[in-house]
């Protein structure tokens, strides 16, 4: 017996269908909760703006050709003005244009890393948790070895030995990122396998594939999505760090970390060359962290408190 007062917490998180009288939006059932988490809303709005800016970059920037390998020697290192909101860089390119285009590069890397690491991690983790036994032991020991390396270190080392490019940086990051998903998915699969509905499906003669796809995968997906949103900021920072070190995107790619690295020698005189790309990294990481943190407190109230 846990105490004189029955714990009502489980009811609060149970399905809406058993709680008549509480209407939920059909559009997104979590809307009510989101309204109670202002940082989540702020993060979602900010993230949406960044994504839209990246997608529409060629149409909303004043000098779209500056995203490439153009040179305007006469306009080098102009301070911010009405014509160049964020000033110009050492070869005279518009920093505002390049910062907006930079969203495409960074978001592209985030998508590649998340998709690759989630697919690889989910496959390995679900297989380990669902089948158990020796397969579980082998897969999880391999995962442990990957987790023994600090993630940033392993991706730097890998990116260093590959030829530097944005794609290779993304793959190097994904290589260090999947073990977290494997561990998460394994835990989910192992606990779902012990649930009543899983037993029922097995007894009714559902094939293993059907059990995995229809019962385990959908139930493991919520924590995986929450984790993905929490990871997006870390990926932005890691990718920027790699290109700052010269191990990621190369000139003339408008990548934020690379822009900071190129502007560093001039930083004392032309502050705008490093300040705005760095701010772009910070704001994007903050936006994604707001979303991740907010989603965690909505979907997993015990772990992520408001």
């Amino acid at each position: 017996m846990s105490g004189p007062v029955p714990d009502l917490a489980p009811l609060a998180t149970s399905d809406a269908s058993i709680m008549p009288g509480r209407r939920r939006s059909w559009l997104w059932p979590g809307w009510g909760a989101a309204k109670r988490v202002p940082l989540l809303v702020a993060g979602l709005v900010l993230s949406a703006l960044i994504i839209i800016a990246g997608v529409l970059a060629p149409w909303i920037t004043p000098y779209p050709e500056d995203a490439g390998a153009v040179v305007h020697p006469t306009q080098a290192l102009l301070a911010p003005s009405a014509a160049h909101w964020f000033g110009t860089d050492i070869v005279g390119r518009d920093v505002f244009t390049r910062v907006v285009f930079g969203a495409r590069v960074s978001l592209g890397i985030v998508v590649i890393v998340l998709v690759v690491s989630a697919v690889v991690g989910l496959s390995i983790g679900l297989a380990a948790g669902f089948f158990g036994g020796w397969l579980d032991a082998v897969l999880m020991r391999v995962t442990d070895i990957f987790l023994a390396f600090p993630a940033l270190l392993l991706s730097i080392a890998l990116a260093a030995v590959l030829s530097p490019s944005a794609l290779h940086a993304a793959l190097a990051i994904a290589f260090t990122w999947w073990p977290w998903y494997a561990r998460l998915a394994r835990g989910q699969a192992a606990s779902i396998r012990r649930q009543g509905y899983s037993d029922a499906a097995r007894i009714l003669g559902a094939s293993r594939t059907r059990q995995l796809v229809r019962h385990v995968l959908p139930n493991a997906s919520t924590p995986v999505f929450v984790q993905m949103s929490l990871d997006a900021a870390g990926i932005i920072l890691t990718a920027a760090t790699l290109s700052y070190l010269g191990l990621g995107a190369q000139d003339p790619t408008p990548e934020w970390g690379l822009m900071v690295a190129k502007g560093q020698p001039l930083a004392t005189t032309a502050w705008w060359v490093i300040t705005f790309p760095g701010l772009a990294i910070l704001v994007t990481a903050v936006a994604f962290n707001f979303v991740g943190d907010g989603l965690q407190s909505v979907f997993d109230p015990k772990r992520g408190r408001r």
């Binding site: 940033l152 730097i156 260093a160 030995v161 408001r306």
Partner: protein, 337 residues
């Protein structure tokens, strides 16, 4: 208890072996011929053959692996292509100053982050809580290379309050010579009572420590807050409240103690972050430690040094994880089960 310790140590040894295998695999995955990388692109066929024989590159893969593992176990990590010195002696030279830097940054992070988290939980739901949370998220979202450069611009170029780079001003060598004890000026000067150098070296540490501490401060504050809030909901704390204990006692005596465990388990992760971030911070501040050495190795594709660094950092990380796990087993008997 001893059984738990034994199994945990065995597990760590297994991971160490896996880490060694992994560095070997990465080294062999590298496109290009390591013999050409060492001898240079204009080396003759005979020279290349000589280099291959010297480094055992002509042997079958499994023999190369065996000699790599025996080398590592004997502390032989090969010769750095950049410094032409054994990687092991290079690492021994650069590691102490980095560990001191990261250690001070982590202590600083705990001093700032834990009270920030406690304050946020204490005034949960107020404006101050939201502000603390935003500060913590800003800290963990900060690109560390950018922060380091901004700190330099503001506190050196603009204000001129703090030195820009290095461990101490070499001008002091003639006024107040420094005797080497462990090779870290700030510690050496303290141990030998060399106050002028100590003050100077300490001033040199402020900016790098702040840059490295940013992420740990945010992470520690968020975990402290979350862990405290979780414990405040526990029945024993609710009972203490109901009995009319003052808030101070509720926090200090009943909620904080069990909240420490997640913070302890965070140490290893935060250390790993701080250490890899120190790579970037050190190269920005020209700090002659593991980080500057590592960045030089990464950029110049110095494979033996890259592998040595990867290995030593992974080993430190595994060791720290082991210590944290054992410490937790001592603090909290539930962990041992």
């Amino acid at each position: 208890m001893s059984r738990y310790i034994a199994s945990r140590i065995l597990q760590a040894l297994g991971v160490v072996l896996g880490v060694i295998v992994m560095t070997f695999v990465i080294a062999r995955l590298i496109p290009g011929d390591p013999a050409i990388a060492y001898a240079g692109p204009r080396a003759s066929v005979e020279e290349l053959a000589a280099v291959r024989e010297q480094f055992g590159l002509d042997l079958p893969m499994w023999q190369q692996f065996v000699s790599y593992v025996t080398g590592v176990l004997h502390g032989d990590l090969g010769i750095s292509l950049h410094t032409k010195q054994p990687v092991t002696s290079d690492l021994i030279q650069v590691l102490p100053t980095t560990l001191v830097l990261v250690g001070i940054a982590l202590v600083f992070a705990a001093i700032v982050g834990i009270p920030l988290g406690i304050a946020a939980a204490r005034w949960h739901g107020t404006f101050g809580d939201v502000a603390a949370k935003i500060i913590a998220i800003l800290m963990v979202s900060m690109p560390v290379f950018w922060l380091a450069i901004l700190l330099q611009i503001v506190f050196f170029s603009r204000l001129g309050w703090l030195p820009v780079a290095g461990q101490y001003d070499s001008a002091y060598d003639s006024i107040s010579p420094l005797y080497t004890v462990i090779g870290v000026p700030v510690i050496d000067s303290l141990l030998t009572g060399n106050w002028p150098v100590f003050v100077n070296a300490a001033a040199h540490m402020i900016l790098p420590v702040c840059a490295i501490a940013a992420y740990p401060i945010g992470a520690v504050a968020m975990v402290t807050r979350g862990s405290l809030l979780e414990n405040l909901g526990e029945e024993h704390v609710r009972m203490v409240r109901a009995l009319g204990f003052p808030e101070r006692a509720v926090f200090g005596r009943f909620a904080l103690r069990p909240s420490l465990n997640p913070i302890v388990s965070l140490i290893a992760l935060v250390f790993a972050y701080a250490l890899t971030n120190s790579f970037i911070v050190e190269s920005v501040f020209n700090w002659p430690g593991l980080g500057s050495y590592a960045v030089r190795a990464f950029v110049s594709l110095d494979i033996p040094a890259i592998l040595g660094i990867t290995l030593i950092v992974a080993l430190l990380y595994v060791l720290l994880n082991l210590i944290v796990d054992l410490a937790q087993a001592v603090i909290d008997p539930r962990v041992r089960a």
